[in-house]
Symmetry: C2
Subunit: 72 residues, 2 copies
DNA sequence: TTCACCACGCAGCTAAACTACGGGCGCGAT
DNA sequence: ATCGCGCCCGTAGTTTAGCTGCGTGGTGAA
């Protein structure tokens, strides 16, 4: 399921930028709980939400869907 | 606005594959009207929807967000 | 002209996008 | 051991946009 992988990718990028979920939420003007839901793949953001996530994480939206294929 | 660019990208890919909106709708099990809305940037698909669009268009999801930067 | 394709306005439903709360757990520092 | 921080989770709720369907009209090709 894509939203799970997306969530993992977002969490990974967030940590790489040394941000807490709270800081993310603040930057995105959304709730901490939602960040958690997204990262766990419970919910997915809207496309407009994706754009905001990408901006805060300083990547292009397509990077959010660029997953590492370690072991195929 | 992202969903507008996304819509244009989707339309472009669809035409490249010689599909009508109706055929897309059929393949996606959704309404023709929704395809039109998406391509015009009026609506954006959900993330789950993105996955389906990508599959029918035979691209990865990230390709839906890969836009040609002609003139910067 | 007809026909195929598509845009658009209008109206509507409902699921999910998003919020908030309380509580619990893991981890690291002290 | 405690404490603070970060995060997960269950529960409950609101709002909105994702998606549907209809009718109508425009455009381009044959």
């Amino acid at each position: 399921m894509l939203q799970k992988k997306l969530g993992q990718r977002i969490a990974s990028l967030r940590k790489a930028r040394k941000l807490t979920q709270e800081q993310m939420a603040e930057a995105l003007c959304c709730s901490v709980e939602f960040i958690s839901l997204v990262e766990r793949g419970v919910n997915a953001p809207s496309v407009a939400g994706l754009e905001k996530f990408a901006k805060v994480l300083k990547v292009e939206v397509k990077e959010l869907f660029t997953f590492e294929e370690k072991k195929r």
